[in-house]
Symmetry: C2
Subunit: 307 residues, 2 copies
């Protein structure tokens, strides 16, 4: 099994023409598990002495940690809601992960993780974002961007819990690259933008149901905030319709099939064109694991013959 691969830099004249900026995409959907999350998962698993790992993510991080544990010969348990769709369960099991279901009406996932951790005191409880090892793993992408020497005006990165954004800031600055880093967050789940405005971590009361499901986290992590409070130039808040339009734009001009969270960064350019007009911008495309039915729906919204 191979570990994380270098990112794939892509540029298309047709995309540039549509957004009015010189865009380079850093495509992470070709990682073995289809998203950047393998960078962090692989780093965590290789840098802990523990022989077993427990995680609560049922999305891309869950699949990535299962893959990384399989590659490292470690045991992996992922806690998932009992009503999870089968395709997400299979994404964990195909890499040998054990799935523990939890009835979330009766008990939180965190509580179930705590139970499992008590029963296996040697296990490492892995966070998808609030962990210095996660940030260090994701920093590899920041270093790759710095090494590509693209003479960028900005790097745009999706923001959920802040694990990727803080890793990008750390990786770029490690290499002495001072390119401004701009967050891209769903407008309807804008706790990070609100945190920057208020100068403290602001949490949502509940998980906002943005189509960008990788950015539904209620708040930034503490380790992430420590970097992002001064590390981000700003955060652009992207309306739901613009995220969906970004999915279509990347299909039609960049031949990429992305998940909505992966379109947040190009959506940020579409949402705030004046900020980016004529600039050289790197947009991180975080992953490609869209639900097939949702993906069809988004492509179809534009209607036959539309662009």
């Amino acid at each position: 099994m191979s570990g994380p691969r270098p990112t794939t830099f892509v540029a298309h004249a047709a995309l540039n023409a549509r957004v009015g900026a010189e865009v380079t995409l850093a495509v992470e959907s070709f990682q073995p598990t289809g998203s950047f999350k393998l960078r962090a998962a692989d780093y965590v698993v290789r840098h802990i002495p523990n022989r077993s790992v427990i995680a609560a993510s049922s999305g891309n991080f869950g699949a990535a940690i299962a893959y990384a544990c399989l590659a490292a010969g470690k045991k992996c348990t992922v806690v998932m809601p009992a009503n999870s769709v089968q395709v997400k369960v299979e994404a964990i099991r195909q890499f040998g992960g054990t799935v523990e279901f939890v009835d979330t009406a009766r008990m939180t996932r965190a509580a179930r993780v705590a139970e499992l951790a008590a029963a296996d005191p040697d296990a490492y409880v892995a966070s998808a974002y609030d962990d210095p090892l996660v940030i260090a793993g994701n920093a590899s992408l920041g270093r790759e961007i710095a090494a590509a020497k693209l003479s960028l005006d900005a790097v745009v990165v999706p923001v959920g819990g802040g694990g990727l954004a803080s890793g990008i800031v750390q990786g770029l600055r490690d290499q002495g690259d001072e390119t401004p880093v701009i967050g891209a967050e769903p407008l309807m789940a804008n706790d990070a933008a609100e945190s920057l405005r208020q100068g403290r971590i602001v949490a949502s009361d509940d998980e906002r149901q943005t189509v960008a499901d990788g950015a539904r986290t209620k708040s930034l992590g503490l380790h992430n905030w420590a970097i992002l409070r001064t590390g981000l130039a700003t955060i652009v808040e992207v309306p739901e319709d613009t995220i969906r339009a970004g999915v279509r734009l990347l299909a039609e001009t960049a031949t990429l099939r992305v998940e909505p969270t992966g379109a947040l960064t190009i959506g940020a350019i579409m949402a705030d064109p004046a900020r980016f007009r004529g600039r050289r911008v790197l947009c991180i495309v975080s992953g490609g694991n869209a639900d097939p039915v949702l993906y069809q729906t988004i492509l179809h919204e534009d209607g036959p013959g539309g662009t």
Copy 2:
């Protein structure tokens, strides 16, 4: 403007599980014009003394030759049917190409090209496939595959006029790489498979309307046949439904939005699984410029919730 870029090698465990082979994709849709055709167009334009080029392709080669001429400061004229869809006309014009329409009910495109060539005796009339310069340009991809040293059992390449397939054979053999090369051709436009069987170039009476529009050419070119008659191990003939299933499979497991011709090679594996079971196979994904409406239709055929 940048020239052709190295191909992007991609592998996905989920794809392998679905086709029962160890597949590496060589993705050409990230070329600046969205298909491998830029390799040949760029090579042709840089290796001719002529200051102007005339071409009859309204598809990927037309866009590629316009792009290459723009980059080289040469003049480009593309002959297109008067009823061409606007998006294809724009694909030529966005790169500064002059579009000459022809009423194909009244005159063939070849005749119109001959007229234009007579009026501009210095112009180079570019073929999309039957030209040693085209083969030499496409050979760069064969050399890249050889250089990647992937220990392959087979390289699968789409076959239309044979420009890419002959280039792949030439590029691999130039590097001393004897990996068998297998063609992938639409069953309903199987003139190349028929040619291999009969040992001579067999031409279709008319252009068969396969969904893989990059493989609609009526016959192999002479220069291509000279290489392919002994250079191809075999050709797998792919039914239309399987080409379309290949488009969906690459979307769902490899996060790629491909045009139908780009799915011919994975379709070949799906059409003849016994041949490829457990083997290490490289599939060339030739391009991503699918018509948006057709693409939506193909994704949707599978129905909600299907895979």
